[in-house]
């Protein structure tokens, strides 16, 4: 965790406030042992299939459980952890249109429901919008090693890389070029036998990069790259984007929700939320540029690109 610990559930809870969806934030009234357990609790956010977070934030017992059955007085779920009374139980379950304890209890099998939104759908929106934001602002970098096989100039970029910013081999920086430049300057460089001195990303297929010349022996390249999320986040996942930018994820998700076909469609609010998101992109670009917080390898490129 970096920042101040915003979880995906926090973002979806804030989204739920605007969508007039109830969210859950209470505590267990009695201990719960690991295993399939029935918990005495009544809450409008509980329905079969709802994911909720049980356990205090940031502790080893914090887990996501899925409600498998409900009655008018309790719910059932499979717990991997043992929980004490007083531990947190929370979740943005977007219950509108779901059959919950209050509207129709005792339904524990697949029922015909018509939710406005689903949790999986909103988590998917989070994934798309966070990666769009990261791609457009590149506020987070990391380093990683990639194996270069003898005779093969092309290697796979890390799965969580948006863009490789820099490469080095054993601490010696490689010059960033393009294959076109190499073709013009030294046509034979792709099959040379010297230690690589350059790297490029064009014409190498999706998710690949290449070095020139081809490695004469097996080598390891260190990459500095801007980072993205690789899978749809769980409710307890922390953000990849800096926590301070979390509100733009919220407005990006809201823009998508208000643009969706259905009862909640609202073109004005969709446009407004979209603009808030776009402003966020501009704010972060401005901040990264003017505070010189970016890794700034592309200084020769146009400012802000």
């Amino acid at each position: 965790m970096s920042g101040f610990g915003i979880q995906v559930n926090d973002v979806l809870t804030s989204v739920s406030f605007v969508l007039l969806e109830k969210s859950m934030d209470t505590v267990l009234s009695a201990p719960v042992a690991a295993g399939v357990r029935t918990v005495t609790m009544v809450h409008p956010c509980l329905y079969v299939g709802a994911q909720i977070i049980v356990g205090n934030r940031g502790t080893v017992t914090e887990e996501i459980v899925t409600v498998s059955a409900i009655t008018a007085a309790d719910f059932t779920a499979t717990f991997a952890q043992t929980h004490a009374a007083g531990e947190s139980i929370r979740g943005a379950t977007v219950p509108s249109g779901q059959i919950n304890q209050l509207s129709s209890p005792n339904i524990s099998t697949a029922a015909v429901v018509a939710p406005l939104f689903t949790q999986a759908e909103l988590r998917g929106y989070c994934f798309d919008i966070e990666n769009d934001f990261l791609e457009r602002t590149r506020p987070v970098y990391t380093s990683g090693n990639v194996n270069l096989a003898i005779g093969n100039p092309i290697a796979s970029a890390p799965a969580d890389s948006i863009r490789i910013e820099r490469a080095d081999i054993q601490g010696t920086a490689l010059w960033n070029a393009s294959q076109s430049e190499l073709d013009m300057s030294s046509p034979g460089s792709l099959v040379g036998s010297d230690t690589p001195t350059m790297w490029y990303q064009d014409k190498t297929n999706t998710g690949k990069f290449a070095v020139a010349s081809a490695p004469p022996v097996n080598l390891v390249a260190e990459l500095f790259y801007s980072q993205k999320r690789t899978a749809i986040p769980a409710l307890t996942d922390f953000l990849v984007m800096p926590d301070i930018c979390w509100l733009y994820l919220k407005y990006g998700v809201l823009a998508t929700c208000f643009a969706k076909e259905g009862e909640m469609r609202d073109a004005r609010r969709a446009a407004y939320c979209s603009k808030r998101y776009e402003r966020g992109v501009q704010y972060v670009r401005m901040f990264m540029r003017q505070m010189q917080a970016q890794m700034d390898y592309s200084r020769l490129a146009e400012v802000g690109v």
Partner: protein, 224 residues
């Protein structure tokens, strides 16, 4: 300094909502809007900038990339031995010597460079732990969840903007004319931020205008 709940209560009053038993809005909801306002204020003005003298930061040996301390959004200054460590970029280092990562280790860093948010790099690597003083742009809160008792670490002039932001965005869930009217209050927040950003410009290069602070030219560091 006020707490988040002090501002949240003011927002609820402006919404004509009860501050003791709110109905349509909750404290949990308004606290998150105050947090939003503080986050956006930080991004616009670069405040609060905090020099951490209470606990010197320990740099780890044998590492180029170092994790920033908890609470730091980004590092803006590093001091060692009573003087500033020279700030560069990876590009600067590569242009001056492409083998800089292999330079002999030292006991103190000679240069540091930004590595996005949450991390920074040093040159050369250290042979043993070393302590430095960091100046950071601080995150608006230390840790979630919000209790409401967190101190708002901005100077008091930000308060009006935070309240306007909270009221403006709270009306978003109402939709229709109420939301349209509320949205205009966001302009009040932006005006306050623009004023305080101009104030900030007297202190450093970060500036904001109603045209999103678009840089009119490349800055002094980039001109080098």
């Amino acid at each position: 300094m006020p707490t988040i709940d002090d501002i949240a209560a003011s927002v609820l009053q402006r919404l004509e909502e009860s501050t003791t038993s709110p109905v349509f809005w909750s404290y949990a909801e308004i606290r998150m809007l105050v947090l939003e306002a503080m986050c956006e204020a930080t991004l616009i003005t670069g405040s609060p900038q905090v020099r951490i003298t209470s606990a010197p930061f320990t740099l780890q040996p044998n590492l180029t990339i170092q994790a920033a301390p908890a609470g730091a959004f980004t590092i803006i200054r590093v001091e060692s031995g009573g003087g500033a460590v020279h700030k560069v970029s990876v590009f600067d280092l590569d242009m001056s010597d492409k083998n800089w990562q292999n330079d002999p280790q030292d006991t103190i860093p000679r240069e540091w460079f930004p590595f996005g948010c949450g991390q920074f790099g040093i040159h050369p690597q250290l042979s043993a732990v070393a302590q430095v003083i960091l100046t950071i742009v601080q995150n608006p809160i230390a840790l979630m969840p919000l209790a409401g008792t967190e101190t708002v670490n901005f100077q008091s002039e930000f308060g009006l903007g935070f309240e306007a932001y909270g009221e403006s965005l709270a009306t978003l869930k109402e939709g229709g004319a109420e939301a349209d009217a509320g949205v205009r209050l966001y302009d009040t927040f932006l005006s306050v931020m623009a004023e305080l950003s101009a104030f900030q410009l007297r202190k450093d290069s970060l500036r904001f205008s109603r045209t999103l602070g678009a840089a009119a030219e490349i800055n002094e560091v980039q001109k080098k």
